[in-house]
């Protein structure tokens, strides 16, 4: 044998923590110790408890929780908000707590050499008692503060870590850090105690907090690199958003669905594709909400459930608008075809929005989702956070085979593009632009289908009007150029002839056949 000592690969233990196993490529390295370091409030204790809770609930694996910091009774109480009843698990023999938290009422005097053998004996006893497969220790830093001789604590922690490995349990050890970017942990030794190191961050950026998780090292096995956003949700705990792991695996459908407006359908070459993302961009008042309303009406008419996430207008305004265009939202809602969620974007962080949207979708199971407007969510987070949110949302929607229609408000009345478009345009399958067009002292509205992935579409810029029955798409703007820029220039028919005469001057083989339809589009 050329490699007689070839080792078996490191096995992974699925933690059961939402999406964490994706970035950890299967879970935590089995029968090894993993350090989780983070600043105060970064979610270390929650991760440590959730690791055990998931084992008990999902994998029928028992656990031991060792607390150096909070008292056992505080832990039991605090974790109830996540739906984890530690006491019940303890009584059922599925969990054991080792309370090594300091007792403020008892003064401890040091007289000569000591070790932490009693602590180790208690941990071993607890592991034996419940036959634990998972152990969490929270947090290492707190034990340093209980004893004056830190070299002893250091030595003893190494002993405990190696004992945990000997016992064959998969262990999570938490440690404090003083800054989100800096040394791995406060006492400088914690990272050497464990085989693997992960960092939880809770960074303040532009007045908003952004939580991320990063796997720094997994000894002898692979993992996803870099920081991944996560959020902490009541009743669920930590939820990781695995961005890079979830892109571009979705199916693509050739089934067409109606936009709710026959003329728009025709411009799109027969309607939107199912499980596609459509972006509707326009200045305020150009007809974005109407496009959304039609889209929902079209869905309900085809027997599809529709979800509307409205961040700009109240429920009452939306329903009144719909009535004004001849649509009955109340009836759609009564029949269970429509659900409307109206809220200020500021009520939650972007990560929380993503998680709650996913929860609503799982509950309502819509075939169509409209977000009006996506750009309103820009102001909740950082640029990076917003981009991640959009990626997460579009990817999720496509996986569910849902058609998504997002609106984006342009910052200027005429022409222009918003930040939303910059970030999202490559993620969308179709883009529809709604623009104001000033013509001879009159505001007209123009519509064009800019992009329609996987399909031919009408490339004209058409005028549209809005009345009591909704949107009516008319003829294309003739003899006019610069419509999209918002500064149209009228071109007289004789000028057009002159423009085309330039093309006619080209060599004969490129000359158009006589009578061919000419376009004002210079791209042709």
């Amino acid at each position: 044998m050329p490699h007689p000592q070839e080792k078996t690969p490191v096995e992974k233990l699925p933690t059961g923590i939402s999406s964490f196993d994706v970035i950890a490529r299967g879970g935590l390295p089995k029968t090894r110790t993993t350090l989780i370091s983070g600043t105060a409030g970064s979610g270390k204790t929650i991760f440590a408890v959730q690791f055990l809770a998931s084992g008990i609930l999902d994998a029928n694996e028992t656990g031991v929780f060792v607390t150096f910091e909070e008292s056992a009774s505080d832990i039991r109480q605090n974790m109830r908000s996540f739906g984890w009843d530690l006491q019940a698990w303890e009584q059922a023999g599925r969990l054991a707590l080792v309370d090594a938290s300091p007792d403020p009422d008892v003064e401890v005097i040091e007289s000569g050499a000591f070790d932490l053998g009693a602590l180790l004996a208690r941990i071993e006893h607890a592991v034996r008692k419940v036959n634990a497969k998972r152990v969490s220790v929270d947090s290492l830093g707190a034990i340093f503060s209980q004893f004056s001789d830190q070299s002893v604590v250091r030595r003893e922690l190494f002993r405990i870590a190696s004992a945990l490995k000997r016992m064959g349990v998969t262990a999570v050890l938490t440690a404090e850090r003083t800054a989100d970017y800096g040394p791995v942990a406060r006492f400088g030794v914690e990272e050497f105690i464990a085989d693997n190191v992960m960092i939880l961050r809770n960074v303040l950026e532009g007045e908003t907090r952004r939580r991320t998780i990063e796997i720094l090292k997994f000894r002898g096995t692979d993992h996803q690199k870099g920081e991944y956003p996560f959020t902490i949700v009541p009743e669920r705990g930590l939820v990781v958003i695995p961005l890079s792991a979830m892109q571009l695996r979705q199916k693509s459908s050739n089934v067409r669905i109606s936009s709710g407006n026959a003329e728009v359908d025709a411009m799109c070459g027969g309607g939107f594709f199912r499980d596609s993302i459509i972006l509707v961009s326009g200045a305020t008042g150009t007809g974005k909400t109407l496009t959304v309303t039609q889209f929902l009406q079209g869905g309900a008419a085809a027997g599809e459930r529709c979800l509307l996430l409205a961040f700009e207008e109240s429920r009452e305004q939306l329903f009144r608008n719909a009535t004004g265009w001849g649509f009955d939202f109340e009836k759609m809602e009564r029949e269970g075809m429509l659900r409307v969620i109206c809220d200020y974007p500021e009520v939650a962080s972007l990560e929380d929005w993503l998680i709650s949207i996913q929860a609503i979708v799982a509950d309502f199971k819509p075939q169509r989702i409209a977000v009006d407007s996506l750009s309103a969510l820009e102001r909740v987070g950082t640029m990076k956070g917003f981009r991640e949110f959009v990626i997460g949302l579009t990817s999720f929607i496509k996986h569910q085979e849902i058609t998504g229609l997002f609106t984006s408000t342009t910052p200027t009345l005429m022409g222009g593009a918003s930040i939303t478009e910059t970030h999202i345009s490559t993620l969308t399958d179709s883009i529809i632009l709604l623009r104001y067009v000033e013509m001879f002292g009159e505001m007209k509205r123009g519509l064009t289908v800019l992009k329609m992935r996987g399909s031919a579409h009408d490339k004209d810029i058409r005028e549209f009007t809005i009345d009591r029955h909704g949107m009516h798409v008319g003829r294309r703007f003739r003899n006019t150029t610069g419509v999209l820029a918002g500064t149209p220039v009228h071109v007289s028919p004789s000028d057009l002839e002159r423009v085309w005469s330039h093309y006619d001057a080209e060599p004969a083989q490129t000359r158009r056949p006589p009578g061919a339809r000419r376009s004002t589009d210079p791209r042709e």
Binding site: V98, V108, I109, E110, A113, F114, D115, G117, R122, H125
Partner: protein, 96 residues
């Protein structure tokens, strides 16, 4: 006044032996006839260690008289042990 003392040790190690010897000597000098010492091996009674929340070995607990006091280590620092027992050598009849 009877002292109730509990000494938690880990197995039959040198440290455990030293702690027991040091403590017995101090008690014989300072509390002769007025104390009860229990020695508990945490390897044999881990649940007792759990209930008492013992971390370090050796750990001496002065159960009675109140207040509850804890001294950790091999009891080699005599003054610290006396501090933990709240015994003042000057006021007792001991001659060292």
């Amino acid at each position: 006044m009877t002292y109730l003392l509990k000494l938690y040790v880990l197995g039959k190690t040198g440290k455990a032996e030293r702690a027991v010897n040091n403590l017995r000597e101090i008690c014989e000098h300072q509390l002769a006839g007025a104390y009860e010492l229990q020695i508990i091996d945490v390897l044999e009674n881990p649940q007792l260690a759990e209930d008492e929340k013992i971390l370090a070995t050796p750990t001496l607990i002065k159960q009675l008289p109140p207040p509850l006091r804890r001294v950790i280590g091999d009891m080699s620092d005599r003054d610290k042990v006396l501090l933990g027992l709240e015994v003042h050598p000057d006021t007792t009849s001991s001659n060292g």
